[in-house]
């Protein structure tokens, strides 16, 4: 049977998220618990979490999380990392052995900075340098896979139910201002940890519920700009699109939503002139980045999160608030699990982004 990356596997899912606008610490256990009530939306073939603000002591370094198939891949990859980066700290990611999680790969974490001389010689900006190295490892080094690479953030994922994955990675030991989570219901047995979600690239992480019908149009377009869609998953291509539009094109999250979940022409025609011109312009500039088919996504980025649905709202997503916190989930029960007394629960419209950012001074 072909593994993820060799074949495209559609999947349904559950997602959840929580952010503190004041940048207060939220313990990882809260998000893990929220996923338990959406157990039925996953089938044990993938779960994962992304936490932001979890590595304050290393916040200026890229935190690389890697899966290795074996020692050989690790040796090759570490040699490469050593050449391209200054490695500040490396260690196994601590895990709690449980019978529910088996066949795990080697899981390592590196805090790194680009090698100063190589960066200068490459004439690239720092993030582009790092991104090219990640793409190189994931494409060229067999058996090595970077599944998290941002600063002061990290992804934890694997094959299993999300709550078991959370327990395995001992997320109760991490605190952050933003958490997102994902439980997967793939239609095949990938049996490979890299295929689980969130998918993350530099600071951007995406959890996604849906199956996009525009996949190959999006993939073939984004690959023009140096990205390699190794996993053949929707989430991967969405993460690259968001990285491309935000990092390379300088669009805000709201502007990105007008590209990937663009309003229908009939809606654009009715908008006021300024909005109309903007929407029309963005749709024409990036027509191949329109995403169709059902999706609900939570995009984590440095200092915030965006929740977004496809423009027909073909997947569920609810948002709620309480004090400084904003909660997101596929189902309301997951939000109530995190905060019993949640207020202002609403269901954002299709294509309507909900962007929440953290008061940076509080971080």
């Amino acid at each position: 049977m072909l593994k993820e990356g060799e074949i495209r596997i559609p999947s349904g899912c559950a997602i959840a998220g929580v952010i503190s606008k004041e940048g207060k610490n939220i313990n990882g256990k809260i998000i893990v618990d929220s996923m338990t009530v959406m157990h039925e939306r996953s089938n044990g073939l993938g779960g994962g979490f992304a936490g932001y603000g979890i590595y304050p002591e290393y916040k200026d370094y890229y935190a690389f999380h890697l899966f290795y198939d074996g020692k050989e891949a690790k040796e090759v990859c570490e040699k490469y990392l050593d050449k391209k980066f200054e490695i500040i700290n490396l260690s196994k990611i601590p895990v709690r052995k449980t019978p529910k999680i088996t066949d795990e790969p080697l899981i390592w974490r590196y805090f790194v900075m680009p090698n100063h001389n190589l960066l200068r010689d490459s004439q690239l900006d720092e993030k582009e340098y790092v991104s090219r190295c990640i793409i190189y490892i994931n494409t060229e080094i067999k058996g090595a896979y970077v599944f998290s690479s941002g600063k002061n953030m990290g992804c934890f994922k694997g094959v299993g139910f999300p709550e078991d994955i959370g327990d395995y990675f001992m997320l109760e030991n991490y605190n952050g201002y933003l958490w997102t989570a994902h439980g997967r219901y793939p239609t095949n047995t990938p049996g490979w940890w890299g295929g689980a979600h969130p998918f993350s690239f530099l600071d951007t992480s995406v959890v996604h519920n849906g199956e996009i019908s525009s996949y190959d149009a999006n993939r073939r377009y984004i690959e023009m700009f140096g990205y390699k869609c190794n996993l053949l998953t929707d989430t991967e291509v969405i993460a690259y699109i968001i990285d491309f539009l935000s990092r390379k094109k300088g669009l805000t999250m709201e502007e990105i939503s007008l590209v990937i979940s663009a309003p229908f022409w009939q809606t654009i025609d009715k908008a006021d002139t300024e909005k109309k011109e903007l929407c029309e312009y963005l749709r024409k500039e990036f027509p191949s980045l329109l995403i169709t088919g059902p999706f609900s996504i939570l995009v984590g980025f440095d200092g915030g999160v965006m929740a977004l649905n496809d423009r027909l709202k073909l997947r569920s997503m609810v948002v709620g608030e309480k004090d400084d916190k904003v909660y997101f989930a596929s189902e309301e029960c997951a939000i109530r699990k995190m905060e019993e007394n949640v207020e202002n629960i609403w269901s954002p419209k299709g294509g309507e982004p909900v962007v929440v950012t953290v008061n940076k001074e509080k971080l």
């Binding site: 190959d216 088919g293 059902p294």
Partner: protein
């Protein structure tokens, strides 16, 4: 002695025939004739002149007529086909180059017929176009120019030269001269009503049709017929014609008899003179020359109009397209070897060029590999026969399609492939006034509007089935396609998987 035997037989049911002589009046080829004898009047047929255009059949009030292929055959031979033998007789007789018209009819693979389209089941929903918005609006031109912001950080929306289509279909180039005034008027009016474009071809623009300028693409071809300032200013886009699918590598020849008073004014050449378009543009012998023409035309029109470069699909089409994509052109139109023509040497039409499906797939892949797909939009033609062909072309990577033969069929063309004779009984490929008036532009434009409206509905149904509600998400979405009965090499070129994979 003439060795040419009639290819068709006119079968007349004498019991039904009422001697009304409609067939006689309708046939410009003079096949039918009344003879009066003592026993009564009879209709007779000179079948050697019949081209199988069905005009008489369609107008016979008692349905007394049918045309059948003659069953007279040469002795069976799997090497020397009937056409080989007949063509040799013809050339031995005349010493001339064989002429044909419309697209290559030979038995080459039609890749569109070996590609199947996907649909949603269970894991994502199909979308009903009757209940939900389904977008087929297309904008053609360059993309991804770079975002500009004002001092407050707000995006300043830019406008770039582009064509705006309500549906991904345009009428391809057919000159006034090769087709009639009424055919042109039908196309122009239909384009306006549909919110798309028709194309003047290389025959200039008749003064009556300047009012359709917003829906017109004006062509600049190697003969430069009818090109002047007002012409360039009037069209919404300018197309440089480098080649045509039916006759790659050669020019055009509109015989003097088709250069009537009106055609002469439009083409800006004397009445009765042959209109010869040279094989190459004599100011374009290489790609850098093309760039100069592109920018001359942009300069002449203040950089307001997109420039299309039309080329025939030939062997190294992807390298050619890559060159064009760097030439400043906004749109590349590629014409496949099945594309039609008013007249072409038979050997060229039937043996030169490659299928549009392969050309399109290879160009789209190449431009993406080079990272320059955003420089241009791709329009393909030759031959698009149905809405399914369009969906497949777009999924392979086209932005929109050009249709011409399909449009002529909608106007009544029966594909008799005798346009070069200039005696089109359907009033399409002719300049003979009595024949031209048979095509009523009110009815013609209505039929074109009907055809494209129907196709657009079908496109929406197919898109909805795939769970796609905007045409831009279909473009280049090759996972939505599967091949059947294709070799691995063919699949690789098309960039699609085999059915079942």
């Amino acid at each position: 002695m003439n060795y040419q035997y009639a290819e068709f037989e006119v079968v007349r049911n004498d019991d039904r025939c009422i001697r009304c002589r409609v067939c006689e009046r309708q046939c410009a080829n003079e096949v039918h004739k009344l003879v009066e004898t003592k026993k009564g009047n009879f209709m007779i047929s000179d079948e050697t002149k019949c081209v199988d255009c069905h005009r008489c059949v369609s107008l016979c009030p008692t349905r007394a007529l049918k045309i059948v292929k003659s069953d007279l055959t040469f002795r069976k031979n799997d090497n020397w086909h009937e056409s080989n033998i007949k063509e040799i007789y013809k050339q031995a007789e005349t010493g001339g180059v064989l002429l044909s018209s419309m697209g290559n009819p030979e038995n080459f693979p039609v890749y569109f017929d070996k590609i199947l389209i996907n649909a949603s089941q269970v894991t994502n929903p199909s979308i009903d176009p009757l209940r939900e918005p389904m977008e087929t609006k297309v904008s053609l031109g360059k993309r991804n120019h770079g975002i500009k912001r004002d001092k407050d950080g707000k995006i300043v929306p830019q406008k770039y030269p582009s064509l705006e289509l309500n549906l991904p279909i345009m009428f391809s180039a057919m000159s006034y001269g090769s087709i009639s005034y009424n055919a042109h008027e039908s196309l122009a009016r239909a384009a306006r009503e549909l919110g798309t474009y028709y194309n003047t071809g290389e025959g200039g623009l008749h003064q009556d049709f300047y009012k359709y300028g917003k829906n017109t693409i004006v062509q600049v071809a190697s003969g430069r017929f009818g090109v002047f300032e007002d012409y360039l200013e009037t069209g919404s886009a300018i197309e440089i014609k480098m080649g045509q699918g039916a006759k790659p590598g050669i020019g055009g020849h509109l015989p003097g008899e088709k250069i009537t008073e009106d055609v002469s004014k439009t083409r800006m050449i004397p009445v009765g003179s042959d209109a010869i378009s040279p094989a190459p543009h004599h100011d374009i012998y290489s790609i850098e020359d093309l760039r100069q023409l592109v920018f001359s035309l942009k300069e002449a029109t203040n950089y307001k109009k997109p420039i299309i470069v039309k080329v025939a699909a030939v062997h190294n089409i992807s390298a050619i397209a890559s060159g064009i994509a760097r030439s400043g052109a906004d749109i590349i139109a590629i014409d496949g070897f099945r594309g039609g023509t008013g007249a072409a040497p038979t050997r060229i039409r039937d043996n030169v060029g490659i299928p549009i499906e392969l050309a399109l797939a290879s160009v789209d892949s190449r431009l993406r590999e080079e990272g320059i797909r955003d420089n241009v939009s791709l329009v393909v033609g030759g031959s698009i026969r149905s809405s399914a062909d369009i969906v497949k072309a777009i999924a392979l990577g086209a932005d929109a399609v050009y249709i011409a033969t399909s449009a002529l069929i909608a106007l009544g063309c029966h594909l008799c492939r005798t346009c070069q004779a200039g005696k089109c009984n359907w009033g399409i490929a002719t300049q003979v006034p009595e024949l031209v008036k048979r095509l009523n532009p009110d009815i013609g434009s209505k039929k074109l509007v009907n055809l494209l409206t129907a196709w657009n509905r079908e496109i929406k149904e197919l898109m909805g089935g795939m769970g796609i509600n905007s045409i831009e998400a279909l473009r280049g979405n090759r996972l939505m396609l599967r091949g059947v009965g294709l070799t691995q090499k063919e699949l690789d070129i098309l960039g699609i998987k085999h059915a079942g994979e």
